[in-house]
């Protein structure tokens, strides 16, 4: 069966006056099977949005090919567009002087929905997004989260097989974000393929079948959230509070202990290379009378930081 999204050797460069061309994408290869929810993770400027724009046909790749449900997005753009729903990030992109219903009606008409079908679809989406009560109010009075939900409704208006979501939960309050996650699960159950970019690691871990890390225009890794954790760290980890200094020193010297550090929250973190070392660490800590101890594997966020590096506020490129 044809993949939902197939990206082969895609590069994208931008001309910058007086400087060498800026390479936003440096040869991306990625295949997303039908029905998969795929999260694209990476820092600002990594190339996530550039990739989404190429997929949605509004930006041409410098080289390489991209197909959506078998349709090449440059040569066969019109057919590719019919399979795609696109939600660009941010709260812009709507007609603020029109109501939510009028906005959706317009977007539905762009996808060729006939009047009766359009009315039914718009009502259904307004209801699904929790906007039915304010459907006839002007969008300019909406909160950022409500606008974001309206954007999502817009992306779904054509009932697309492939949905591209660029930072879909930016600006949503926690309740709306939780509802959004439920919605993504429903969409997956419908058999839709979803590619979403996000900075929210918990969201990516919770929703995605696979995640891809993109940094500086390169795809660093594509795996399931669980597998990624295992690949990056075969290490185990012991966290403990109130560990005396002399015990800390002893832990550092134990065989199989890879690192001892203190987190920002003041928790002592011991990383071990194998289970036997973990057992020794636990015994040492407990023997010192410390009871606030836990053992865990790295979260997706830590994997992200491990792969991308602790870049802080700096953008890629």
């Amino acid at each position: 069966m044809t993949a939902a999204i197939d990206i082969r050797g895609v590069t994208r460069s931008y001309v910058v006056k007086g400087k060498p061309d800026f390479m936003a994408l440096k040869g991306i290869d990625l295949t997303i099977p039908r029905g998969e929810v795929h999260a694209l993770l990476g820092p600002n400027g990594a190339g996530k949005t550039t990739l989404c724009r190429i997929l949605s046909t509004v930006l041409l790749p410098t080289s390489g090919t991209v197909t959506v449900l078998g349709h090449e997005v440059v040569r066969d753009a019109e057919k590719a567009k019919q399979c795609l729903g696109v939600v660009f990030g941010g709260d812009r992109g709507l007609y603020n002087r029109l109501s939510a219903r009028q906005n959706l009606n317009f977007w539905a008409s762009l996808y060729g929905l006939r009047r009766g079908e359009r009315r039914r679809r718009v009502d259904e989406l307004l209801d699904r997004m929790g906007l039915a009560q304010r459907a006839d109010e002007r969008v300019q009075g909406f909160s950022r989260g409500m606008k974001q939900r309206l954007h999502l409704a817009r992306g779904l208006v054509s009932d697309p097989g492939v949905l591209i979501l660029d930072e879909p939960t930016v600006g949503m309050d926690p309740v709306a974000a939780r509802d959004f996650r439920d919605l993504v699960r429903e969409l997956r159950a419908d058999g839709r393929t979803i590619l979403m970019t996000t900075h929210d690691m918990a969201e990516a871990a919770e929703l995605s079948d696979r995640v891809s890390f993109i940094d500086d225009g390169n795809l660093a890794l594509t795996e399931s959230p669980t597998t990624v954790g295992n690949i990056v760290s075969t290490r185990e980890r012991v966290d403990a509070r109130g560990v005396p200094q002399e015990v800390r020193d002893r832990l550092t010297g134990l065989a199989g202990v890879a690192a001892v550090s203190e987190t920002e929250a003041g928790v002592l973190r011991v990383e071990t290379e194998h289970s036997e070392a973990t057992r020794q660490v636990l015994m040492t800590i407990v023997a010192a009378g410390v009871t606030d101890v836990s053992r865990s594997r790295p979260s997706l966020e830590e994997v992200y930081l491990h792969l991308i590096g602790r870049r802080g506020m700096a953008v890629g490129g």
């Binding site: 931008y14 001309v15 550039t50 724009r53 949605s56 046909t57 509004v58 930006l59 041409l60 019109e78 567009k81 019919q82 795609l84 696109v86 660009f88 941010g90 812009r92 992109g93 709507l94 007609y95 603020n96 002087r97 029109l98 009028q102 009606n105 317009f106 977007w107 008409s109 762009l110 996808y111 060729g112 002007r138 817009r154």
Partner: protein, 256 residues
């Protein structure tokens, strides 16, 4: 015509809620009164129909200039252009549909001019050839929208062109024979006016509303009006296609 219906319907909804859309209508009855005064004072009451038709044509062209200058740039500045281009329809047809809806403003403009001339000067325009009037009106509106489609692409490809947007009014009124028939112009100028669609449309509308007025070949006028409109639309499609191709290549569809 994918995109046309969507654009037409959308623009009607959008204009309904915006008071500033109707500003151009305020001037129509005043233009009618000024033109009627000139005709009456100069004793050329045989040209009264010109005074009533002209404000409608002026409203059409004003709307065309105003909306064509804003449509693409507003969508781009408000982050909507990418989503519009990502939709599976012809963007040129969408624009054309929107601009055709803007031409509907000519109808209240005409009504107000008609009422102003009738109530103040006692001149009630007669529809001598209603079918010709309706055909000429529809074709003139479509040709104006087509020309505006081409202009909208020009304004976005060459932002500097917007600075001359306001200066395009009177040359077009003159070359289009909006008030004075182009047959009254010096011979060399008349030839130039015949490449302006409005000159054919204005002659047709006046012929349909002036008692005893006959054009030599009405069908030829209708065909020329249609051809010039179609040419403008073809140019508009070409310009828009070029603009979109360039913007997709440069990544310039969105304006941050």
């Amino acid at each position: 015509m994918p995109g046309f219906g969507a654009g037409f319907e959308f623009q009607i909804v959008a204009m309904r809620g915006q008071a500033d859309t109707y500003f151009s209508l305020i001037t129509a009855p005043f233009f009618a009164l000024v033109f009627m005064s000139i005709m009456e004072y100069s004793g050329r009451t045989d040209l009264n129909s010109h005074a009533v038709i002209a404000p409608m044509l002026i409203t059409m062209w004003t709307a065309a200039l105003s909306f064509s200058g804003e449509m693409i740039s507003e969508d781009r500045e408000n982050g909507r252009l990418e989503s519009l281009i990502a939709a599976p329809m012809s963007f040129a047809m969408l624009l054309f549909g929107r601009l055709c809806a803007c031409m509907l403003l000519a109808l209240p403009s005409f009504l107000m001019s008609y009422l102003a001339a009738g109530s103040v000067f006692g001149y009630w325009l007669s529809f001598e050839q209603p079918l010709l009037f309706a055909s000429a009106l529809v074709l003139t509106a479509a040709a104006t929208a087509a020309t505006a489609t081409a202009l909208s692409a020009v304004f976005v490809i060459a932002p500097g062109a917007r600075s001359v947007q306001n200066t395009l009014s009177f040359p077009v009124y003159l070359l289009g024979g909006v008030l004075v028939p182009v047959s009254q112009y010096p011979g060399w100028l008349e030839g130039l006016t015949r490449i302006v669609y409005l000159s054919w449309g204005a002659d047709l509308l006046r012929a349909a509303t002036t008692p005893g007025a006959e054009l030599e070949n009405t069908i030829c006028y209708l065909v020329m009006l249609g051809l010039l409109g179609a040419t403008a639309f073809a140019l508009g499609r070409l310009f828009i296609s070029r603009f979109l191709q360039r913007a997709r290549a440069l990544g310039a569809l969105a304006k941050e």
